[in-house]
């Protein structure tokens, strides 16, 4: 474990931490010296990530959490405070997608995506912010998306939810800046995660064709979870001490042509 890590001595709560960007961020933050409160609905995968962190000498606990339930969020935050004494960093990363137009989208899917992608941020933030206020500050990072800034095909609820994340980020930045709580979001482009493969499946497209299409951007490739984790680390660390209310686009140039 590095002594002079970039988030040494900090406590980070990470949702959706069992796979993809959340997992990469948990591993990176632990490597950089933070204690990790790891949450996910997927218990097996979540425990494996926690084991990985423990084995490399990090401090971590995993909790099986449905971030759409207020009681789960409250319990998670209480446990983090009980075990680690504080929360400095909240990474609201849990997210799902449903690739459909509004015509093909069920009301249940609309509600589910909005609950996981947006309401969870509200539910967790309202539990965590009082602790950050007492401690004199903190930093919140939300996972939005390139599709929180520009529209995409057959992604109505995903775009709606991620657009909401971007503006929720800015609204919370305004409310809690005076309490030294910084709130920012990352807007990843297509990243090599399970969700990307699931999207191909939802659209009924062949994986290799879908991935080739996703690579069509100035850098000519999709991103890695580690690259998104580095952006989250920048926003979590003191290096970004004057950054709040920002949407940090990490997309290989995918949006350079968009408004």
């Amino acid at each position: 474990m590095q002594l002079a890590g970039r988030v040494s001595g900090k406590v980070a709560l990470i949702t959706g931490g069992a796979s993809g960007i959340g997992r990469a961020t948990a591993l990176l933050f632990a490597h950089e010296g933070a204690a990790i409160a790891l949450a996910d609905v997927n218990a097996d995968a979540g425990r494996r990530v926690a084991d990985e962190i423990t084995q490399s000498g990090g401090r971590v606990f995993f909790d099986t959490v449905d971030v759409t339930r207020a009681a789960d969020c409250q319990r998670l935050v209480e446990r983090a405070i009980r075990e680690f004494g504080r929360i400095d960093i909240l990474f609201n990363n849990a997210g799902i997608t449903r690739r459909a137009t509004v015509l093909d989208l069920s009301e249940e899917d609309w509600d589910r995506v909005m609950a996981v992608n947006v309401k969870s941020i509200y539910l967790l933030s309202r539990e965590v912010i009082p602790h950050m206020q007492k401690a004199g500050g903190g930093t919140i990072i939300n996972t939005a998306s390139g599709w929180g800034l520009a529209g995409g095909a057959k992604a109505a609820v995903y775009c709606a939810s991620k657009g909401a994340v971007v503006l929720l980020t800015k609204a919370m930045a305004i409310d809690h800046g005076p309490q030294n709580i910084r709130v920012n979001c990352v807007c990843p482009g297509d990243t090599d995660t399970g969700m990307l493969r699931e999207e191909a499946q939802q659209l009924g497209e062949e994986n290799s064709r879908f991935l080739a299409e996703a690579a069509k951007r100035p850098l000519g490739r999709v991103g890695t979870p580690e690259e998104i984790a580095q952006a989250a680390l920048y926003l979590a660390s003191a290096a970004s001490s004057f950054v709040t209310g920002t949407a940090l686009v990490v997309d290989g140039g995918g949006l350079a042509r968009s408004l």
Binding site: I174, G177, G220, Q230, S241, F242
Partner: protein, 253 residues
């Protein structure tokens, strides 16, 4: 160290954000070429980096002039053998409405802030592409994405910098070149008291206006330098065409 074996050119490196970036990059292991128009300040920054054990050269350069930009790139290659990072930072500001802004003042701001970015990039891209990649970071502004009062030429130039950034990102991504910009809010540089003076405002009143943002304060040059370091380093390897806003929440509303 996050920029070991890298070579960086920093325009407007003799004061403010450019100076802070030059010193931070040098501490992180980069060899830095500082450009600027003020020779004595440039030599002072270079001397401080050398004293701290870093490597630096100063190249007197007016970024409005193509030949001088070309020479700055050539001299950097001659001294350090490569060019990995270009920070287009040279910039000027004068507070004027369209009615107040003279043609000379318009040209000065557009030529230094925007054309200088084009010229330096034009000459730096060749060697970067030849060596297989590189990073360009342009210094735009919060006023490159939203309007501000009495700042017509500055807003036009900085808005131009944001879109020049995106256009170059689209053109050169496939050649391994990443191009991003930062959009600082009010930062503790000599530009700020100068602006207050030109607007005829006393410093206290002016500063209070600048501090009126979610974080309740202006930024430091070191905070901007850290954003530039993030964009210059491999930590941002999937970022190109982005505008990184570092403004204490000033444009969140």
């Amino acid at each position: 160290m996050r920029l070991e074996n890298k070579v960086a050119v920093i325009t407007g490196g003799t004061s403010g954000i450019g100076e802070a970036v030059a010193e931070l990059f040098a501490r992180e292991g980069a060899r830095v070429a500082i450009t600027g128009r003020n020779e004595s300040r440039g030599h002072a920054v270079m001397a401080r980096i050398l004293e701290a054990g870093g490597e630096a050269i100063f190249l007197r350069t007016d970024v409005r002039k193509a030949a001088e930009c070309q020479r700055a790139v050539d001299e950097t290659l001659r001294s350090f053998g490569r060019l990995d990072i270009l920070f287009n930072n040279a910039g000027v500001f004068s507070p004027q409405t369209a009615l107040e802004c003279s043609e000379e003042e318009w040209d000065l701001q557009i030529d230094i802030n925007l054309k200088g970015t084009f010229l330096m990039s034009k000459y730096a891209l060749g060697p970067m592409i030849a060596q297989g990649g590189g990073v360009i970071i342009n210094n735009s502004s919060g006023w490159g994405i939203v309007g501000g009062d009495k700042a017509v030429a500055y807003c036009a130039s900085k808005g131009g910098v944001v879109l020049l950034t995106k256009a170059m990102a689209v053109d050169h991504g496939r050649q391994g070149i990443r191009v991003n910009c930062i959009c600082p809010g009010d930062v503790d540089t000599p530009m700020l008291p100068e602006d207050a003076r030109l607007r005829g405002l006393d410093w206290k009143t002016y500063l209070a206006g600048c501090q009126n943002r979610p974080l309740g304060r202006i930024g430091t040059v070191d905070e901007i330098a850290k954003a530039v370091l993030f964009l210059a380093s491999d930590d941002s390897s999937f970022m190109t065409g982005a505008a990184l806003v570092v403004d204490g929440g000033g444009t969140a509303d």
